[in-house]
C-alpha cells in the first residue's frame, strides 16, 4: 500500500517510509507529552505502557523522562515518543519545552484527589491556548483501582472531557486497566496520512536515516 510520509510534525517526518510501497506497513511517529499534578501517576502510566511494570514507589521525576513505545493499529506502525514531565508547580515553566510540537497529550489526574482534577483542567486550558491546534488530548483519571475511595466522579470527568473534545478514560497503572487502551485510542485519533500537522518545532530533517520503523511490531 502506497503511503505518504508525514511531513513537518515534530517527529512526523521521522516516519521513514520506503517509497512506493515496498513496505507493507505505514509507519508514523508521534510526540506525546504527559502532564498533570505531582504524584498522580504519570511516570507509572508510562512505565506500565512501555515496560509493563509497576513500581509502588516510583521515584519522583526531576525535569522529565523520555521513553518510546511502538504499537500497531491495523496496517500502521505507530511509534510514540513519550515525554513524561515533573508534576511540581515549580517545574511548570519547563513544560512548554515538552509540549511544543507534541501531537498528543495525556493529562492525568488522581480520582482520589479533587485538586488534581482541577489542575488537569488548567493543563487542558493551557494546551488549547499554547500547544499545536491539532493536538489530540486525552484525559486520564488514574488510580482507578482505588475507585471505592474516589472523589472525582466518573460522569463529572466524562462530561468535562466531552465538552472540551478530549478522549477520556479512567486508568490504573497498578492493574494495567485501560493503560494500553488510552494510548491506542490516541493513536487511532491521530492523523496517519496527512502532512498538515506542521506545528512542530523540533524538526528532524534526517528522519529517514535515524527513524527506521521496526518491521516486526506486531510480534
Amino acid at each position: 500500500m502506497a503511503t505518504t510520509p508525514r511531513s513537518g510534525g515534530a517527529a512526523g517526518s521521522g516516519a521513514a517510509q520506503r517509497p512506493n510501497g515496498t513496505s507493507q506497513n505505514k509507519s508514523c511517529q508521534f510526540k506525546l507529552v504527559l502532564l498533570g499534578e505531582s504524584a498522580v501517576g504519570k511516570s507509572s502510566l508510562v512505565l506500565r505502557f512501555v515496560k509493563g511494570q509497576f513500581h509502588e514507589y516510583q521515584e519522583s521525576t526531576i525535569g522529565a523522562a523520555f521513553l518510546t513505545q511502538t504499537i500497531c493499529i491495523e496496517d500502521t506502525v505507530v511509534k510514540f515518543e513519550i515525554w513524561d514531565t515533573a508534576g511540581q508547580e515549580r517545574y511548570h515553566s519547563l513544560a512548554p519545552m515538552y509540549y511544543r510540537g507534541a501531537q498528543a497529550a495525556i493529562v492525568v489526574y488522581d480520582i482520589q484527589n479533587q485538586d488534581s482534577f482541577q489542575r488537569a483542567k488548567t493543563w487542558v486550558k493551557e494546551l488549547h491556548k499554547q500547544a499545536s491546534p491539532n493536538i489530540v488530548i486525552a484525559l486520564a483519571g488514574n488510580k482507578a483501582d482505588l475507585s471505592n475511595i474516589r472523589v472525582v466522579e466518573f460522569d463529572e470527568a466524562k462530561q468535562y472531557a466531552e465538552e472540551n473534545g478530549l478522549l477520556f478514560m479512567e486508568t490504573s497503572a497498578k492493574t494495567g486497566m485501560n493503560v494500553n487502551d488510552i494510548f491506542l485510542a490516541i493513536a487511532k485519533k491521530l492523523p496517519k496520512n496527512d502532512g498538515a500537522n506542521n506545528q512542530g518545532t523540533s524538526i528532524r530533517p534526517n528522519g529517514n536515516e535515524t527513524n527506521r520503523p521496526t518491521n516486526n511490531c506486531c510480534k
Binding site: 504524584a39 526531576i62 525535569g63 521513553l67 515553566s93
Partner: protein, 482 residues
C-alpha cells in the same frame, strides 16, 4: 500442687493448642489477619540483597567477596586510621585533604567529614533552637507539606532506612524539608531537595541534615538555591556552560546530540539538581559528593563532562534519541562500566583539563541565584499558596524561562540543519585522516597546540581504562599497565 496427671494433661493441651494454631494459620493462608513473623517472609532476604549503604538489589549479593573487594576493604581500613588521625588535627593541609578526599572518604568517617566540610556543628551552635522553631512553624504554616509527603513516600524506598513507611528516617526527611521550607521561605520546597536531604540523612541526624542542606543551598560554594528557585537561573547558566564545553572539546558528540535532539536540559537537570544520585551507581555518587563538598559546584560541570567523555564511543554508536537518553538516565545508574576509582581519576583529569583550557568556571552567578529574604524570618504565605492553587498566569520569571527554553530549542533546530551539511562534507575528510573522535577533538582544538596535545594524552589514558573496564572483572594489573 500439680499432679503428674495434671502436668501431662497440660502438656497435651499445649501441644493441641500448638497444632490447632498451626492449622489455623494454614487455613487463613494469605488472609491479612494471618500474622506472620517478619523472619518468615522472603522479604527477610533483604539482608542478602542489601549493600553496605542500605540499598536493596534485585538479586542476592555474592556470598563471598571477590579479591578486588577484599583489597578495597583492606585499603579502606588503612584509610580509616589515617582519617581518624587527620580528624583529630583538623584542619589538615589543603593538599593532603585534597588528595585524600579524591581517594574517597571512608564510609565510617563520612559523617564527621561531611559535617566539617559543611560547617554543620558551627551552624548548629550559632543557631541554637532555630531548627526546632522552624519545625514548629512548619507544623502550622508550611504550604509544601503535601508535596513533601508525596515525595518522602517515594524517596529511596529501596533503602533500608527509608523502606518502612513512617520509619525514623522518613519522618526526619519529612521534618527537615518542611522546616527548611519555612527557614528559606523564598525557596520553599522543590522536587530534588528530597533526594539531597535524603542522602544527607543517611549519614546525619535530623538537625545536622537541616544545616547541611542549608549550607548546600545558601553557601556560595554550592549555591543550590539558584538551581531550585523558581525559574532555575543556575540551571540555565550551567547548561549553557556545559554546552560551551561540549562544543569546544567534544565537538563530535555535541553534534551527535544536536542531530538526535538530545538537549542537555533533558539529561543534565537531574545530574545537577541531585549531584548524580540515581544517575550513576550510589557508591560513585558518594565519591562525587565527597569531591563536590570539598571543591564546590564546578565539580558538577566536570563530572557531567567526565560521564560523557568516558562513554562517548558508546553514545556515538547510539543512533536514536531514546537510546541515548535511556543510556544516560537508566543504564549508567545500573552499571557505570568503570569502577569508582577509575571514574574519579578521570574526573580529576577532566577538572585539570578544563582548568587548563579556562573552561572550568562558568560565568558568574547573578543575584537572583541567592536568597534575598533573611533566612529564618517567618513570612506567611499568600492565600493562593496556602490553598495550593495554581496562579492563572505565568510569573515574569517563568515567562523568561519559557522564552529562553524556546530560543534554545529553535537554536538547536537550526544547528541540526547546519550540522547536516557540515557532516556531509566532513565524511570525505574523515576517511582520509584519523577515524572517530580523535579527528574532531584535534580540529576543535586547532590553534591551541598545547591544549591539543594535553587533551590527546587524556584520551590515551582513557584507552587503557576502557579496555580494562569493558570486562568488569579484569585484573587490576591491566589498569596499572598505563
Amino acid at each position: 500442687m500439680m499432679t503428674d496427671g495434671d502436668q501431662q494433661e497440660a502438656l497435651i493441651k499445649r501441644a493441641e493448642d500448638e497444632r490447632e494454631d498451626i492449622f489455623r494459620r494454614y487455613d487463613l493462608g494469605l488472609d491479612p489477619n494471618n500474622v506472620v513473623d517478619p523472619w518468615e517472609n522472603p522479604k527477610f532476604e533483604i539482608y542478602h540483597i542489601t549493600d553496605k549503604y542500605g540499598f536493596m538489589h534485585d538479586s542476592r549479593l555474592p556470598n563471598t567477596r571477590d579479591s578486588q573487594e577484599v583489597q578495597r576493604n583492606k585499603i579502606e581500613l588503612e584509610r580509616d586510621k589515617k582519617w581518624m588521625k587527620m580528624l583529630s588535627h583538623w584542619p589538615p593541609a589543603p593538599e593532603k585533604l585534597h588528595k585524600r578526599v579524591y581517594k574517597g572518604i571512608p564510609d565510617k568517617v563520612r559523617w564527621s567529614v561531611w559535617k566539617l566540610l559543611l560547617n554543620v556543628d558551627q551552624a548548629m551552635a550559632t543557631h541554637k533552637g532555630v531548627y526546632t522553631r522552624m519545625l514548629q512553624l512548619a507544623k502550622k504554616y508550611s504550604t509544601e507539606t503535601r508535596q513533601i509527603d508525596a515525595d518522602v513516600n517515594r524517596q529511596f524506598r529501596d533503602n533500608l532506612a527509608y523502606r518502612e513507611r513512617y520509619s525514623v528516617k522518613q519522618c526526619s526527611l519529612f521534618n527537615v524539608l518542611n522546616a527548611y521550607s519555612i527557614y528559606n521561605s523564598e525557596l520553599g520546597y522543590c522536587q530534588g531537595m528530597a533526594c539531597v536531604a535524603g542522602v544527607l540523612l543517611l549519614y546525619m541526624h535530623e538537625e545536622e541534615a537541616f544545616w547541611a542542606l542549608n549550607a548546600l543551598i545558601t553557601d556560595k560554594k554550592y549555591g543550590m538555591h539558584g538551581l531550585f528557585i523558581e525559574g532555575f537561573p543556575k540551571l540555565t547558566r550551567f547548561i549553557d556552560h556545559h554546552d560551551r564545553i561540549l562544543s569546544k572539546i567534544m565537538r563530535k558528540l555535541h553534534k551527535h546530540f544536536t542531530k538526535h535532539n538530545v538537549d542537555a536540559l533533558l539529561y543534565a537537570i537531574k545530574w545537577f539538581f541531585v549531584v548524580f544520585v540515581e544517575r550513576v551507581p550510589f557508591s560513585l555518587s558518594l565519591r562525587v559528593w565527597d569531591i563536590f563538598l570539598l571543591d564546590g559546584d564546578r565539580v558538577i560541570l566536570s563530572m557531567a563532562i567526565t560521564i560523557l567523555y568516558l562513554h562517548k564511543d558508546e553514545l556515538l554508536r547510539l543512533k536514536d534519541m531514546d537510546a541515548i537518553i535511556e543510556y544516560l538516565q537508566v543504564k549508567l545508574h545500573k552499571n557505570f562500566g568503570y569502577n569508582d576509582d577509575d571514574a574519579v581519576q578521570a574526573l580529576e583529569r577532566v577538572m585539570k583539563k578544563l582548568k587548563d583550557l579556562k573552561l572550568d568556571q562558568p560565568p558568574p552567578a547573578k543575584s537572583n541565584e541567592f536568597p534575598t529574604r533573611t533566612l529564618g524570618d517567618f513570612v506567611e504565605a499568600d492565600f493562593e499558596k496556602k490553598i495550593g492553587r495554581r496562579r492563572n498566569d505565568y510569573t515574569d520569571t517563568e515567562k523568561q524561562v519559557i522564552t529562553d527554553v524556546i530560543i534554545r530549542q529553535e537554536q538547536n533546530a537550526g544547528d541540526v540543519q547546519s550540522t547536516m551539511s557540515y557532516e556531509t562534507s566532513e565524511c570525505a575528510t574523515v576517511t582520509l585522516t584519523v577515524p572517530e573522535d580523535t579527528h574532531s577533538l584535534r580540529s576543535s582544538l586547532a590553534g591551541t597546540s598545547v591544549a591539543s596535545s594535553e587533551t590527546m594524552s587524556l584520551e590515551d589514558n582513557n584507552i587503557h581504562l576502557k579496555t580494562a573496564n569493558m570486562l568488569q572483572n579484569t585484573p587490576q594489573r591491566e589498569l596499572l599497565g598505563t
